[in-house]
C-alpha cells in the first residue's frame, strides 16, 4: 500500500484510542476514529448520527465525508449510508473483529476486503 499520501481512514468506534474495538453498527457508533495513514495521527469526530431520530446512517456517512476520509472500515453499512459513501468516492472495506489498530495493520498488509454488500437498514421504512 504505497499510495498513502494524505489518505485518512474512518473507523466507527464507541471509545477513543487505537486499542478500542470497531463499533458493530456504523450509523450509531459514538465516534469516528480518523487515522492518517501517512502521519499515523489520529483524531476523533463525534457521530451526529448516533443520536439522530432517523436517517442515522446518512448523518453518520455525512460526518465521515466531512472529516475528509477517503477510506472507511466498517463491519456493515446500510444502503442509504452506502450511497453517501459511494457518492463521495470513499472506499469501503469490511473491518474484521478486533481493534482499530488491528484493522489498520490488516489493511496495510493488504488483508482487508472491500465491503461489497450493504443492507436495507434496520427500520424497514417505517415512519
Amino acid at each position: 500500500m504505497s499510495q498513502t499520501k494524505g489518505k485518512k481512514v474512518a473507523v466507527p468506534v464507541n471509545d477513543q484510542g487505537l486499542e478500542s474495538k470497531v463499533a458493530p453498527v456504523f450509523g450509531r457508533a459514538t465516534y469516528f476514529c480518523i487515522y492518517d495513514l501517512e502521519t499515523g495521527k489520529t483524531e476523533y469526530v463525534e457521530n451526529a448520527g448516533a443520536i439522530s431520530q432517523g436517517g442515522a446512517g446518512i448523518k453518520a456517512a455525512q460526518c465521515v465525508v466531512d472529516a475528509g476520509a477517503s477510506l472507511l472500515f466498517t463491519p456493515q453499512c446500510g444502503d442509504n449510508a452506502a450511497e453517501v459513501i459511494r457518492s463521495a468516492e470513499i472506499e469501503m472495506y469490511q473491518s474484521v473483529e478486533g481493534t482499530v489498530e488491528e484493522n489498520i495493520k490488516n489493511y496495510q498488509a493488504g488483508k482487508l476486503a472491500l465491503l461489497e454488500s450493504t443492507h436495507a437498514g434496520f427500520h424497514h421504512g417505517e415512519k
Binding site: 436517517g55 446518512i58 442509504n80 450511497e83 463521495a88 415512519k127
Partner: protein
Amino acid sequence: MRIAVLSGKGGAGKTLIAVNLAAAAGRSAYVDCDVEAPNGHLFFKPTHIKKSEVAIKVPILNPLLCNGCRACVDFCRFNALAYIKETVVVFNDVCHSCGGCVYVCPQNALSEREIPVGTIQSGFSKGVSVYTGELKIGMPSGVPIIKKLLDAKDLKQEVYTVVDCPPGSACTVMESIKDADYCVVVAEATAFGLHDMKMVLELVRLMGKPHGVILNKWIEGEASELTETCCREEEVKLLGKIPFDSTLGTLNSNGEIVARVDDAYRAMFSALFETIKEEVKG
C-alpha cells in the same frame, strides 16, 4: 363515532371483526387502513368505485442556485438530505414531506415535486361506504395514504365509521387510531396473540384511547384463559368472544360477510356493536 379495530398480531381477525361490525351497523363506513394488504373490499365487493391517486412531496434541487450553505441538511431531523461533492443529495424514502428544507433554503434552490405512493378507492355495499387505501409496491410508508383516507370529506358525514388498522403498533397504526373514539383490540387466543395484544394495549393507553378486547378464535384452553386473566388483571373490558368455529371459518374464507348471511352471527355482531356503542357513550 369512529371505532378503530387493531390487533398487533397479523391474522388475529381485524378484518373479520371490522367488516362485520360495519355490516351489523347498517348505514356506516368501513375504512381499510391496512394499506400494505387491504382485503376488506373482497368481502364487501363494493360497486360505484371511485379511485384517486395519493402523492407525497419531496424536495428537488436546482444545482445552479445552491451555494452549499447546508441549511437544508442541518434542518432535516430525519437526515433526508446530505451534502456530498458540492451538491445536495435527497433520500426520498427517509423524507417526511414536511417542506422544511424548501422553507429554510436562502437561495430558493429547493422546490417540491410530487411522487405517487398509492391510491384510495371508495365504493358502496348495501348501506356501507367502503374506503380502501393501497400502498404502491416499494414505497416505504403508508402514513400519507392513511391520512388522506381518514380525512376524506364524505367520511366526516358518516355516523358510524369502522377503521380496519394495519397490524403491529408502529406509525401506520398510530395514524389509523389518531381520531378514533374507541379502540377495539382483537386478540387471538394464542400465546403469540396475547403477547401482541399487550403491545397494542400499551399503545392505546399511551394515546389515551378508550378500549376493549374481543377474543377471537376462542377455544377452551390455556391460551384463552391467559388472555382472559390478562384482561381482568389489567382491568380491560372484554367485549366478547368469537368461537373458533368451522361455519364461521368456511363462510369467511369464501369471502362472505357472516353478519349478512348467518342469523346467529348477525345477532352476535349486532350485539357486539351495541356493546361498543354503550362503551363509547361511557
